[in-house]
C-alpha cells in the first residue's frame, strides 16, 4: 500500500500555485534598485548628446564643479586616463562609455555628475557647456551604404565603410536550383521597425566600493548578474572575488536589462574614486533613447513554389540597423542572432539567408526583446511571406500551412538553415485554433460583410521558437558557454532553499522553481524558498532572457533535485535497514519494495543526513547541478486574429485573438497563461502603435511615453487561450519548453496578416508595422503598399 502525496496539493508540477513573490509586491514592499538607500550615498546623473552626429570641440564643466553639493564631474577625457572611455561590447565591438572624439547618436553619454542629491546633479548637468560641430547624419542602411557616406566608426582601424558584417547561412547553389524549378516565385519586402522593450522600471545601479575591504558591491537592474561580474572583472581589471553583483527585484526586463550600459560603468568608477556609494537611476527618456533597442531590420525574400502549393525553397535577405555600436547581446557565433530559425516549422528542402549589419547614427544595443535573439524578425517574415505565397497561389491560408508543416512523424527534423527541431504537433495546433475561431463560418461572414462594404480580416501566424540557449557547443557569449545552474540545500527539518544562475523579472521563478523541487522530491513547495540574483551566493549562470530559464536553469533545478534524491535513497536504505536496491520511490517517500507500508519520508531522510548518516557517508543534504542542454527546446504556437478595418479612417479593431500554445509540460499553468497574455499584448502593440523612429537629423521620435505609444487596458483586446496540445520536450528532464516570449514572437504577424487579409482585392501586399490608421487608410485609398520607415518613405 503506497502513500504517495497528491502532487497538486503540495504545489508540484501542474499546480496553478499562487505566486510567492506577490506577497511583497501587493504590499508595496518589493525591493527594486531605486528602493535601496545606503549610508552616505551620492546620486549620479548623465548629460546626453542632443545631436546624433557631431564632433566634440570642447567640454567646459567648470560651472558644474562650482555648484554646491557636486562631488565629481566625469567626462570622456577623465575616463580615457583610466582606459575606460571605451568598453568592449557583447558582440566583439567597442562602445563609448563617455564620448571623447565624437557623439554618434542622440542621447549618447557625454558627461556624468555625482552630487549629494539628484536635483543638484541634474542642475549641474545643465551647467556643463559642450561645444559641438554637427556632422552629416545617417539614419538608415540605405544612407549608410551610399557612395560618399561618412564613416561613423572612424575610431576603429580598418573600418572602411559602415558595414559591420556579412553573414551567410544555408545552401546558395541548392537554393538557386530550387528557384529554377519553381512554377511560381513569390516575393515580399518589409521593414520590422525599431522598437524598445521599455519595461516600466528604467535601468539603474548603486555602486558601493569599500576601500577598507577592497570589495565592490553593485546593486543593479540586470537580467544576468554573473555576466556583469565577469564583464566588470575584465573591463575594470578588478579581482572577480572582490566583485559582488546583486540584482534586486526587477521591474520588467524584456531584454532591456541584459547589456552593460555606460551608466553602470560610470557609477562604478565614481564610487571607486569617491569611496562612497553612488546611485544612478535613469529617467524614461534616457532609457528610450540610449539603451538596448530591438528589431530595426529590413527583410526581403522570395519563395519558390510548386503550383500545388509545395514550398521548394526560400531566399531571405536581412539588412540590420545596429546603430552606432554593435552591442547586441546574443550568442557570439550568430551575427544576427537566431534569425536563421525562420521557416523551421515548414518542411522546406533548401534555403539561403544573407544578412548584413550596418552602423547608423542611432542608439546601439539590439537586444532580444521578448524573444530568443532576432527570432521575432524571423517568425514575422516567415508568416508574412507564407501569407503572401498562399495569396499568390490562390490557396487557402490554413490549407497552405498545413500542407507544408513538418509532420508529427518527421521529428527530429533538420531545418533548411541548420537547426534540429525535435517535437511538435503542428497540424493539431492549427486545427484547435481554426475550430476556436470558427474558421469556415468566419470566411462566410467575411464575404457577406464585404458585399456590404465592411472589411473583415483573419490572420494566421504560427511559430516555432528555438528557446533555451545553449547547448554549449554552439552557444556562448564572448566565449562563456551558455549553460546554467542550480543549488539545492535541504535543511535538517526537510525545508529547503534553491538558488539558480537565472534572474527572473516577473516570470515567477520564486514560485515555479519550488514546484519543480516539489515534483522531484515531494517536499511541499511552501517549504522551499528560492533565491536568485546575488553573485556571492548564487551558482554561476547566464541569466534570464531568450526564454532560457525553464529550459536551462529549470532543468538544472530538476537535476540537482535528482542528485539529492539519490543521496536520500542511501539514507533511506540505512534507516530502513535494507539494501539500496530494495528501496522504491514514490512522491515524498521511500519504501521497502517487499513491504510498502515500511517507509521513510524525504523529511526523515533529511534529518538523518544531519543526525544519523551511515558510517563513511558525507554529512548534509546539499548539491549543485550545472546543466548543459543537449538542444534548444522548440515550443510551437498558432495565433489567429480577426479584425474589422474601417475603410473611411484606416482604424482597425480586433474582434478575436485565439492563441494555441504547445510549450510541452506546464509547470504552473496560471503563470504560463500570464506569460502568453503579456506576449500577445506586446504583439498587438508592435502591430498597432509601438515603434521608435528618427527624423532626418537623427532626432529620436519616441523618446517618451507621449510619443512612444504603449497599449493601455482600454485598447488591449481580450485573449482566448488554448492549452489542449501538449508535446513534451524529449530531452528536458521534466518535458518543459520555453514559453515566456512565444506570443510576442509569433503574434505580430497574426495581427498584420489579419489587416492585409481584410484588404483582399485592393492588391495591397504589405503595410509596415505599426499599422497606424494613416498607413492603412493610405493603402486602402491608393491601393498600394505602404512600406519603409520614415524618413525614407518615397512620398515624404
Amino acid at each position: 500500500m503506497t502513500q504517495a502525496l497528491d502532487e497538486i496539493k503540495i504545489g508540484g508540477l501542474g499546480a496553478s500555485r499562487k505566486r510567492v513573490e506577490d506577497d511583497r509586491f501587493i504590499r508595496g514592499k518589493g525591493n527594486y534598485t531605486d528602493d535601496i538607500t545606503l549610508p552616505g550615498m551620492l546620486h549620479m546623473e548623465i548629460l546626453r548628446s542632443p545631436l546624433a552626429h557631431a564632433r566634440i570641440k570642447s567640454i567646459d564643466a567648470s560651472k558644474a564643479w562650482d555648484i554646491p553639493g557636486v562631488h565629481l564631474v566625469l567626462t570622456g577625457d577623465m575616463m580615457a586616463t583610466r582606459n575606460l572611455a571605451w568598453m568592449p561590447t557583447l558582440s566583439y565591438d567597442t562602445q563609448a562609455v563617455l564620448a571623447t572624439d565624437k557623439v554618434r547618436f542622440q542621447g549618447q553619454e557625454v558627461a556624468c555628475v555625482i552630487a549629494d542629491d539628484p536635483y543638484i546633479a541634474k542642475d549641474a548637468c545643465e551647467a556643463i557647456d559642450v561645444d559641438y560641430e554637427p556632422l552629416p547624419v545617417i539614419v538608415n542602411p540605405t544612407q549608410a551604404v551610399a557612395d560618399g557616406a561618412p564613416v561613423i566608426r572612424d575610431d576603429k582601424e580598418n573600418q572602411a565603410g559602415n558595414v559591420i558584417y556579412h553573414w551567410e547561412v544555408g545552401d546558395a547553389a541548392g537554393t538557386d536550383r530550387a528557384f529554377e524549378q519553381a512554377d511560381v516565385i513569390s516575393r515580399l519586402q518589409l521593414h520590422y521597425p525599431r522598437s524598445h522593450p521599455s519595461p516600466i522600471e528604467c535601468c539603474g545601479s548603486i555602486a558601493d566600493f569599500n576601500r577598507a575591504t577592497s570589495k565592490l558591491t553593485v546593486y543593479m537592474t540586470t537580467q544576468a548578474p554573473h555576466i556583469i561580474r565577469a564583464a566588470v572583472a575584465l573591463v575594470a581589471e578588478l579581482p572577480e572575488q572582490m566583485i559582488r553583483i546583486i540584482s534586486p527585484d526587477i521591474g520588467g526586463g524584456f531584454g532591456n536589462k541584459v547589456p552593460v550600459y555606460p551608466g553602470y560603468v560610470c557609477s562604478i568608477l565614481a564610487s571607486i574614486l569617491l569611496e562612497r556609494p553612488v546611485k544612478w537611476i535613469e529617467d524614461k527618456t534616457g532609457n528610450l533613447i540610449s539603451t538596448g533597442f530591438a528589431r530595426d531590420v529590413y527583410l526581403d525574400g522570395e519563395m519558390a513554389l510548386r503550383r500545388d502549393g509545395k514550398i521548394l525553397g526560400v531566399r531571405m535577405g536581412c539588412d540590420a540597423d545596429h546603430g552606432a555600436f554593435f552591442s547586441d547581446a546574443q550568442p557570439s557565433k550568430f551575427k544576427l542572432g537566431l534569425i536563421h530559425s525562420a521557416f523551421a516549422a515548414y518542411d522546406i528542402p533548401v534555403a539561403h539567408l544573407m544578412a548584413r549589419g550596418i552602423y547608423t547614427n542611432k542608439a546601439p544595443g539590439g537586444v532580444a526583446y521578448r524573444c530568443s535573439f532576432r527570432v521575432t524578425e524571423a517568425m514575422f517574415f516567415q508568416e508574412r511571406m507564407v501569407q503572401a505565397a498562399a495569396d499568390d497561389l490562390g490557396m487557402d491560408q490554413a490549407e497552405f500551412r498545413r500542407m507544408n508543416f513538418v509532420k508529427d512523424e518527421d521529428f527530429p527534423h533538420r531545418t533548411p538553415l541548420g537547426f534540429l527541431t525535435d517535437s511538435g504537433q503542428y497540424a493539431k495546433c492549427l486545427d484547435v485554433g481554426l475550430k476556436a475561431v470558427g474558421y469556415e463560418d468566419f470566411r462566410k461572414r467575411q464575404e457577406e460583410a464585404r458585399a456590404r462594404g465592411r472589411l473583415l480580416g483573419l490572420g494566421i501566424s504560427t511559430m516555432t521558437e528555438p528557446l533555451g540557449a545553449g547547448n554549449s557547443r554552439e552557444y556562448d557569449i564572448l566565449g562563456i558557454k551558455m549553460f546554467d545552474s542550480a543549488e539545492l540545500k535541504v535543511h535538517m527539518t526537510g525545508k529547503a532553499i534553491v538558488r539558480t544562475g537565472a534572474r527572473g523579472q516577473g516570470q515567477g521563478h520564486e514560485t515555479t522553481w519550488a514546484q519543480i523541487v516539489a515534483h522531484e522530491l515531494g517536499i511541499p513547495a511552501e517549504d522551499i524558498v528560492v533565491e536568485e540574483g546575488d553573485t556571492d551566493t548564487a551558482p554561476f549562470g547566464m541569466g534570464t532572457y531568450a526564454s532560457r530559464s525553464t529550459p536551462v536553469a529549470g532543468a538544472a533545478v530538476a537535476m540537482v533535485s535528482r542528485k539529492i534524491r539519490a543521496k536520500a535513497r542511501k539514507l533511506a536504505a540505512h534507516l530502513l535497514e535494507v539494501s539500496e536496491e530494495d528501496v522504491e520511490w514514490e512522491l515524498g517517500r521511500f519504501y521497502v519494495r517487499s513491504a510498502p507500508d515500511r517507509g521513510v519520508t524525504i523529511q526523515e531522510c533529511a534529518m538523518a543526513a544531519y543526525s544519523n548518516m551511515p558510517d563513511g557517508m558525507e554529512p548534509g543534504l546539499e548539491n549543485t547541478a550545472y546543466y548543459d542542454p543537449p538542444n534548444l527546446t522548440w515550443p510551437f504556437a498558432v495565433y489567429i486574429v480577426t479584425v474589422e478595418v474601417d475603410p473611411a479612417t484606416g482604424v482597425w479593431d480586433v474582434l478575436t485573438t485565439v492563441a494555441v500554445d504547445d510549450c510541452g509540460i506546464r509547470i504552473n499553468p496560471m503563470i504560463v497563461e500570464g506569460q502568453i497574455m503579456g506576449g500577445l499584448t506586446e504583439a498587438y502593440a508592435m502591430a498597432n502603435m509601438q515603434f521608435i523612429t528618427f527624423d532626418a537629423e537623427g532626432n529620436c521620435i519616441g523618446s517618451n511615453y507621449m510619443d512612444y505609444l504603449l497599449p493601455t487596458a482600454w485598447e488591449t483586446p481580450g485573449f482566448e487561450l488554448h492549452s489542449e496540445v501538449v508535446t513534451p520536450c524529449p530531452h528536458h528532464p521534466i518535458g518543459a519548453k520555453g514559453i515566456g516570449e512565444c506570443a510576442a514572437v509569433g503574434g505580430p504577424a497574426a495581427f498584420v496578416n489579419a489587416v492585409i487579409d481584410a484588404l483582399t482585392g485592393t492588391g495591397v501586399r504589405n503595410i509596415d508595422m505599426p499599422l497606424l490608421p494613416d498607413r492603412v487608410w493610405e493603402a486602402i485609398t491608393y491601393r498600394r503598399d505602404v512600406s519603409g520607415a520614415p524618413p525614407v518613405r518615397s512620398d515624404d
Partner: protein
C-alpha cells in the same frame, strides 16, 4: 531634502535653497516637512518619507506607477488618484495622502493579514508579474471602487487606462479588480 556639503569658503551669499514648510497626512499619520518648492510629491514620498512602494516609471505622468490618492480638506471619500511625479510636494499642504502602504492598514493582524481586497484580488487572479506597476494600478482601482462599487469590465479598463503594464496584458488585472469589487460588495452586504 537635507543637504550637507563641504564648506570651501567660496559660496555666494544668499544662494541658500528656499524651503517651504508643509503639513499633511500620509496613510493617516500627520507629518511636517520642509521641502524645496520644486520637489516632486513622488520624491517626498519615496526619499523624504521612505515609503518606496510608490514607484517612478516615467516622470512624465504617463505610466501611472506613482499613482497615490490625495484628499483635500472637506472632500468626501478616499481621495482622488494623482500621479505623484507631476504634483509638487508643496501642493499637498493641508491634504491627506494614501499610498499602497496605507491600503492594508485596516484590520492588520486579521486573517489574510489585513490585506485590502484589491491586494488579495491581484494575487488571486495573477494580476501582476514584475510588480512594478502594481501599487499604482491598485491605487487607481481603489479610486474607482470608492466611486463605483459594481463596475463593468469596461468601467475597469477605462479607469485604469492611465496606468501602463508591460507584463500582464491587463486581462488578469481587470479580473483582479472585479474580484475585489465582488468581495467588497459581499463584505458591505454582510
Amino acid at each position: 531634502m537635507t543637504v550637507v556639503y563641504e564648506d570651501l569658503g567660496d559660496e555666494a551669499e544668499g544662494a541658500a535653497v528656499p524651503v517651504r514648510r508643509i503639513r499633511f497626512s500620509i496613510n493617516g499619520k500627520k507629518m511636517i516637512a520642509e521641502v524645496e518648492p520644486r520637489l516632486l510629491l513622488s520624491h517626498l514620498i519615496r526619499r523624504g518619507i521612505g515609503l518606496t512602494g510608490t514607484h517612478m516609471g516615467c516622470d512624465t505622468t504617463n505610466c501611472g506607477a506613482c499613482t497615490v490618492l490625495v484628499k483635500g480638506p472637506g472632500e468626501a471619500g478616499g481621495g482622488r488618484p494623482v500621479k505623484s511625479c507631476t504634483m509638487l510636494a508643496v501642493q499637498v499642504d493641508g491634504r491627506e495622502i494614501t499610498t499602497v502602504e496605507g491600503l492594508a492598514m485596516k484590520g492588520a493582524g486579521e486573517a489574510g493579514g489585513g490585506l485590502h481586497p484589491l491586494q488579495e484580488g491581484f494575487k488571486e487572479e495573477h494580476g501582476l508579474q514584475c510588480g512594478f506597476c502594481t501599487p499604482g494600478m491598485m491605487m487607481a482601482a481603489k479610486a474607482l471602487l470608492d466611486e463605483n462599487p459594481d463596475p463593468t469590465e469596461e468601467d475597469v479598463r477605462w479607469a485604469l487606462s492611465g496606468n501602463l503594464c508591460r507584463c500582464t496584458g491587463y486581462q488578469n488585472i481587470v479580473k483582479s479588480v472585479l474580484w475585489a469589487a465582488a468581495k467588497l460588495r459581499a463584505e458591505s452586504a454582510g
